[in-house]
Amino acid sequence: MGAYIIRRIGQAIIVLIGISIIAFLLLYAVPADPARIIAGPHATPDVVNQIRINLGLNLPIWEQYLKYMGNLLHGNLGTSYIFHTSVMSQISSRMGPTAELALGCWIMELIIGIPLGIYTARHANKVRDVVISALALIGISLPVYWLGLLLLFAFGFKIQIFPLGGTGGIYYLILPSITYGITGAAYYMRLLKSTMLDVMNQDYVRTARAKGASERRVIYRHVLRNALIPVITFAGIDIGTLLAGVVLIEETFNWNGMGMLAYQAIGNQDIPVIMGTVLLLAVFVVLFNLIVDIVYGFVDPRIRYD
């Protein structure tokens, strides 16, 4: 187990280095001239050149990269071109709201998806299953921002029970979470349904029935306990991707998180901020994948890492 974790962490580090290299190459080696952006359109060539030297943009790309990574190891993600403040401090003030939002969305997915998964598995191929599955198909196909706008219009504007957006406590969190929950729950529902149907055909479920266990007991003690294992995996990976895709929902609900920060930075071509948020979000994805792989061994007694 120990060796397995170390190996997985090693892989994760390789992936992170890969991400940093690719992101760096694509973002820094671009036609846009950051020095010109910082200096403004009316600056003289001398000023622009001076800025370029100050930022180290005249160095070869690999040296710039090593410098960036060196700083990164000291917790320094550079300075925003536009606001001239440290990228780290900008990101850290946005991390809380994004974590809150992601958590809200994630919980809502589970709250909607898991009961529906159990329900459709128990009533597979009946009319209710077909109807719910059809709705799930539509749920997956909905653009999250569009649904968000519809819900905002309905419950923020027409019937004013929720705020029209903004960052805040639970009250502000409900509508975006429901929105994301509706579009994402279907994945959980389908996954749980299909694994439950799989498990229901297993020999050990027949054994449980042969012991005289009630249908309820069979479902909750025997089927669900096994069927949840892949769902847990998926949930872990999902929270990573959720963090990374949070920009649409933040924009729609005017939620002041990392997605918004990155979005504004992209508009300003503020490359250090873009780089910082992309890297950090990628770290989260990799981290959650890693956690899932490790937790898996505890959830499923059959897994032995050797």
């Binding site: 054994t207 012991k211 266990a213 294992i229 499923d300 059959r302």
Partner: protein
């Protein structure tokens, strides 16, 4: 304790009457079991033999009412005077695992991988004896010892994947026998095991049944296993019982051409090696069952009336019956 008294009665533990089982395939029902009758006396071991697809496993599942919808089961399954097919689901649950225990072919997959061994044995006791968790655990350790598992105190806290196939089948037997059932249904219990392990498991089943006066319904395709463990045998072919009788009579004086064919087609462990005499052809599929005697297309003695009419079970001698026109009118 009253069970012990009952089992001294002459009454049968189980009586299956005119059992019919139909499966739905592509919107159509096909009969997998066609009017099966048999009985098991207290303490008796009945072997139900036949090749794959003959309906023997389905029959055993229908006794426990474990067949899934859409399946039609009709006839009577009378256990200790009650027709199991008429019980409510709740009443049936009181029978399963309590009065009738069951073990299956695949010990590797028949135990729940995420629960500890102790919990899986204890569940039966919890459900039917209302035992507390700690008492159930103690009882589970006792059961593990009874089925010959070494280090029972440790094994009780292990997971199934840590055990070998033979050990898992012992655990399955512990689960099935935990509530001291009067009938044990064993569906190909040793097919997935190696010979030396098979010998251990059969021995264990015989010994436990003897100790508790349990009747056994043994479903198998292996005639050797039947000869060594059963008192009586029913041979099934294509959804029907074609011959039944005591083990001695079936093996020493087989009447039905199918039974004879089966016995002749097995290579022997002793004596001179000679060319095998196989049964020609293949087992008919559910979709196109022959009319009349279902064995007729493969039968070397088939007559005109075999193709047109389905023979009844004719009494050959006391308790020995064969579904073949050759035995019409006895011997």
């Amino acid at each position: 304790m009253s069970k012990v008294l009952e089992s001294t009665d002459l009454q049968n533990v189980l009586e299956v009457k005119d059992l019919q089982i139909e499966f739905k395939v592509d919107e159509q029902y096909y009969k997998a079991v066609h009017g099966v009758n048999f009985h098991i006396a207290p303490g008796e071991t009945l072997g139900l033999v036949g090749e794959s697809g003959c309906g023997k496993s389905v029959t055993s599942m229908s006794i426990m009412r474990l067949l899934k919808d859409p399946t039609k089961v009709s006839g009577q399954i009378i256990y200790q005077g009650r027709d199991l097919l008429k019980l409510t689901e709740n009443q049936m649950r009181q029978v399963r695992g309590n009065e009738i225990g069951m073990i299956f072919q695949e010990p590797m997959t028949s135990l729940n991988p995420v629960h500890k061994i102790g919990r899986q044995i204890g569940e039966t006791l919890l459900l039917h004896r209302g035992m507390s968790a700690s008492r159930a655990r103690k009882e589970s350790i006792e059961m593990l010892k009874r089925v010959g598992i070494p280090r029972a105190e440790q094994i009780v806290d292990e997971y199934p994947h840590q055990l070998s196939g033979g050990m898992r089948q012992r655990v399955m037997i512990a689960i099935a026998m935990a509530c001291n059932p009067s009938l044990l249904i064993a569906d190909e219990p040793t097919t997935a095991l190696d010979v030396t392990i098979q010998a251990q498991i059969l021995e264990l089943m015989k010994q436990l049944a003897k100790e508790n006066g349990t009747s056994i319904l043994l479903i198998t395709h292996d005639l050797g296993v039947v000869a060594e463990t059963c008192d009586r045998v029913a041979v099934m072919y294509a959804g029907r019982i074609v011959e039944e009788g005591s083990v001695r009579k079936i093996f020493k004086n087989p009447q039905h051409p199918y039974t004879r064919g089966l016995l002749n087609s097995i290579p022997k462990l002793t004596g001179e090696r000679k060319r095998l005499e196989p049964i020609e052809g293949n087992v008919p599929s559910l979709r196109n069952m022959p009319d009349g005697c279902r064995f007729a297309p493969r039968c070397p003695f088939a007559m005109d009336k075999c193709v047109a009419h389905n023979p009844e079970l004719f009494e050959v001698e006391d308790g020995h019956r064969s579904r073949c026109f050759l035995q019409e009118g006895g011997q």
